[in-house]
């Protein structure tokens, strides 16, 4: 690809410090070597997203998907690493330019009810930001909101209603309208269809795909649902304990995953099929990010783990054109 990516992450990292509880503080006063325990929610993520691309981000709960998404959307400052917007480091931009870049990346959340102010009418929920940011003069706001609602398949007659007067699917459409109202280039969708029933979920997925085509949007599409991600994304990244362990064009990844964790995840996701199946699950629990395993974080559960795996962390390497994987097996046996 020759054009600069719209978003480029380098070594993006987020640490949260967890305050000590009473017992731990007391123990420390007595001389125990206890630090404020840091959770490394996201560790050194490198990822480039091309203009117009849909990148799916999957992984099990607590692996850092939302934290990564919130850093990309500018809601959460990274602890380390850089985030480039159209080739420019966000930290080096003037405040005005940074503000502009932040508006261009909008987020759509999982729970539409929790993310919409229950006391505001739809007209204000959707219309506030574009007016405040000077994108639309106040007197034109109503017509603008009506047009935005139509874009997401909602009747503009709903303008004066409150969020609780809508169904879950309609509320998600309002959440999408609110994000679109500031004319973003990128949408970070965090489990945006997870709370919806199957039949409604399909409507919203279709809406996302239509908007992408109509508005040339770029998506970072976070979901724990492999079927949804496979359907909608051009490339898929799989995360485990704060790191991307595999990144590849979606059809190739789903067809022939390389990383043992990616394989396990794809094998174990139930599919709608008439074939009776026996589950052969991988063992063990998802480790705590407070106390991540040494070396490759997947080694306590990996059926192929070797001595090297607990000693040395595998780097994310390009194992074939556009295919990235972080596993020592690729060095001993090739992909």
């Amino acid at each position: 690809m020759t054009t600069a990516p719209i978003i480029e992450l380098n070594g993006l990292t987020k640490r949260f410090s967890r305050k000590l509880d009473v017992v731990e503080r007391f123990a420390r006063r007595l001389g125990a070597a206890i630090d404020d325990r840091a959770v490394q929610a996201v560790s050194g993520v490198d990822l480039s997203i091309a203009e117009g691309e849909v990148v799916g981000l999957v992984g099990e709960s607590g692996c850092g998907k939302s934290t990564l998404g919130r850093m990309v959307a500018g809601i959460l400052p990274p602890s380390a690493g850089t985030l480039r917007w159209r080739g420019r480091d966000l930290r080096e931009l003037s405040p005005a330019d940074r503000h502009h870049a932040n508006l261009k990346i909008q987020m759509v959340f999982q729970d539409p009810m929790a993310s919409l102010n229950p006391r505001l009418r739809v007209a204000d929920i959707v219309g506030e930001a574009p007016v405040v940011h000077g994108l639309v003069p106040r007197r034109e706001a109503e017509a603008y909101v009506a047009a935005t609602l139509r874009q997401v398949g909602l009747d503009p007659a709903y303008l004066r209603r409150y969020p609780h007067q809508f169904s879950g699917g309609q509320r998600q459409r309002i959440g999408i309208a609110r994000a679109l109202a500031v004319k973003p280039d990128v949408l970070v969708c965090d489990e945006s269809v997870a709370a919806l029933d199957v039949s409604i979920q399909a409507q919203i997925i279709n809406l996302f795909m239509r908007l992408r085509a109509e508005l040339s949007l770029t998506y970072l599409f976070i979901s724990h649902d492999l079927g949804v991600v496979e359907h909608i994304s051009d490339r898929t990244a799989i995360m485990y304990l704060g790191r991307i362990v595999e990144l590849a064009p979606t059809p190739e990844l789903f067809d022939k995953p390389n990383h043992p964790y990616a394989k396990a995840l794809l094998d174990e996701a139930p599919r709608v099929s008439v074939e009776k199946r026996r589950f052969a699950p991988i063992r063990g629990e998802i480790p705590s990010p407070l106390d991540p395993p040494s070396g490759c974080a997947f080694h306590p559960r990996c059926p192929h783990a070797m001595p090297r795996c607990s000693a040395e962390r595998p780097a994310l390497r390009e194992i074939a054109p556009r295919r990235w994987s972080a596993c020592h097996l690729n060095e001993t046996t090739g992909p």
Binding site: V198, Q203, M209, H231, P270, R271, V272, V274, A280
Partner: protein
């Protein structure tokens, strides 16, 4: 046909609220043989949980079973006394909830709770009850059960807690387990572990299972038979192969077509238009009518149960594929 383990006939459970009568369950028929796994599928609000609660006599006021029968080993549980129901619950029929803390007491150790659960229904020594608990934990794949028995619920992950809840359900080798979305909150790899244990246990012990879920994929992997619910009724029932390979109810077909992995990548999904109706305000006749692309004038009357067998039936005047078979209404 021999008498099944469980037969639910025309079950109706209504909630009398200020806003009106909520017909949460309004004519549900089910049957289940020994050792069989039935997937009860439907979208939120379709009445799955209330059906499970009604079978066990656990419906909270203002809810009430207002019609139908629940025949368990030939005995009608509707109208059975609370004492009789308590004897059956936990021992003959066990329940597993989405949130394992519905079963577990946060202030008691797992061992204490399991021993109490054993002794609630059987007069056995503490030592024997402890041994039974150990074996039950081992059966659901919990390593070092002795250590685990001494632990408290908060020391376990969500997946482990759900295993413990399943182990408690298994203590008395019940004839039937009703599991209400027990893996919905869990991650894929943890869910797979639990589905694996459950499938194995049902095979080994002959325990029958009703697995309530909104997830067609889980059902197709786990169950023998499926009942699809919509707006308080079972609209279609059949084997997994029949439901997935040859759905007859337009709603079942719509659900299947909405699943992304059954569509070609990137093409628009064939979604069902409209939204799930409120059970307070159902249309006359077939509740699916406003969303159905096959509806005709006939659909303003409630469709009767039609089908090939008692356990292969649908409620639709114009079933999918009827043209080819020439059996349209």
């Amino acid at each position: 046909m021999t008498e099944p383990l469980l037969r639910v006939d025309g079950l109706k459970t209504h909630f009398l609220t200020r806003a009106g009568t909520v017909k949460a369950v309004d004519g549900v028929d089910l049957r289940l043989d020994r050792g069989e796994i039935l997937g009860l599928v439907g979208e939120s609000g379709s009445g799955k949980s209330v059906t499970g609660q009604s079978i066990l006599g656990l419906v909270d006021p203002p809810g009430r079973v207002v019609g139908g029968r629940v025949l368990f080993r030939g005995e009608d549980l509707v109208g059975a006394g609370e004492k009789r129901l308590r004897a059956i619950r936990g021992r003959r029929i066990a329940m597993i909830f989405q949130d394992p803390m519905m079963t577990l007491n946060p202030v008691l150790s797992i061992g204490t709770q399991m021993v109490e659960a054993v002794q609630a229904h059987e007069t056995v020594s503490r030592a024997e009850a402890w041994e039974r608990s150990r074996r039950a934990l081992a059966r659901v794949g919990i390593a070092s059960p002795d250590e685990r028995l001494a632990s408290y619920p908060h020391q376990f992950s969500g997946g482990m807690r759900q295993r413990v809840a399943i182990a408690i359900a298994l203590l008395h080798s019940p004839d039937l387990i009703i599991a209400d979305e027990p893996t919905t909150a869990l991650d894929v790899t943890i869910q797979a572990q639990i589905l694996f244990e459950v499938q194995k246990l049902c095979r080994e012990t002959g325990t029958a299972l009703i697995w309530v879920t909104h997830d067609l994929a889980v059902v197709s992997a786990l169950a023998d038979r499926v009942a699809v619910m919509y707006a308080g009724r079972v609209v279609e029932t059949g084997t997994v192969a029949e439901i997935i390979g040859n759905p007859r109810h337009p709603y079942t077909r719509g659900l299947l077509e909405s699943v992304p992995s059954r569509n070609r990548r990137g093409v628009p999904l064939r979604s069902i238009p409209g939204m799930t109706p409120s059970v307070l305000d159902l249309p006359e006749g077939c509740a699916f009518r406003p969303r159905c692309d096959r509806s005709t004038g006939a659909c303003t009357a409630m469709p009767e149960l039609m089908g090939d067998r008692e356990d292969r039936a649908w409620r639709c005047w114009n079933p999918v594929g009827a043209e080819a078979r020439g059996d349209a209404a």
